[in-house]
Symmetry: C3
């Protein structure tokens, strides 16, 4: 069995939005040399998510609007006891709806994605470097 | 390490609803000959999901009603710039709540499911052939 | 390829709430002797979920309040035809939002978690013994 890991780092320039990371994951697979196996993509930060969808506007903007309705930012909501000024509760809730991880099949050296499926990173607390871990096992 | 993949195809006769695919996945595992490992089931279409739940009515119907409340169909919402008549935004949102994939443990040649757990495919844009990929790795 | 499985059992003393199971999963990995691979944690009961988040109050309590808004307990909602007194529909819906499984990378004998990431079990129908399965494959 072979295994491969790589940290991908992203800075989203605004507080919240989407980055298409499909090519970066495909490059990880190429570097791994793995032909058959599975690939795990997971956000290492509790205020960001990863999922698959078609990468289109205005849908991406609509996803954010929808998440804001499901889990609105509430400036008075605290996550921990030590906080004083900024509330992050909504960012944790939004990430829970989107999900923290994607698992993909690796077949004949390629990631198996549907026709319109792209791997999307959803940032909920941006403007700083954040990490996505890619782990591939197989042979 | 052994690996196995199979495409399962489904046509749901209505726009939205649930298909129990547990037996199809169990047949994949049997065909693979894998005794110990993990099994990935993922929808290859961004307007369908897969999850596990008990397969009961009226709960299945209630799930759809609930999703319609969380992500109502809005005929004016566009997903991409090229669309003119039909809005699919709600189908992408509903699939995000349900999830695109299920990972199951394979032990002694069996898929490990809880007592009431069934593998359910949730169609949000039916009446056409759509694909679910099963990938199993192990030995 | 090596594989390892263990059932973890929990009793949450109230109807709904969160148990941090990070240490139990880390002990599974230690017992497995696996250095490189992946680790699946999945609830074996359709009225409980597992996810990762920072483990903080008041955020944990806020998660439950938020889920109660998204999927309120409705005493009249039936899940199956055989039920007479108690409605469990909301517990299935809440578990669907939270998720049934977490996949983690195993690298150099350690589970890879983000700085604040903990593995949390979310009980929606407690006061009885319930099962979480840990499956690890790798070498």
């Amino acid at each position: 069995m072979k295994s491969f890991r790589k940290d991908l780092w992203y800075v989203y320039p605004e507080r919240q939005g989407i980055i298409n990371i499909t090519k970066d994951v495909q490059e990880c697979l190429k570097a791994s040399g793995i032909q058959e196996g599975i690939c795990l993509i997971n956000t290492m930060n509790v205020t960001a998510g990863v999922y698959t969808n078609s990468d289109e506007e205005p849908m991406n903007a609509s996803f954010l609007e929808w998440l804001e309705k499901l889990a609105p930012h509430n400036p008075d909501a605290k996550t921990g006891s030590g906080e004083t000024e900024i509330s992050f509760l909504d960012t944790h809730l939004k990430r829970t709806v989107i999900g923290r991880e994607v698992m993909l099949a690796v077949t004949k050296g390629e990631i198996e994605l549907g026709t319109w499926e792209q791997i999307l990173y959803f940032e909920f607390d941006g403007k700083r470097r954040k990490r996505v871990l890619v782990k591939i096992i197989g042979e």
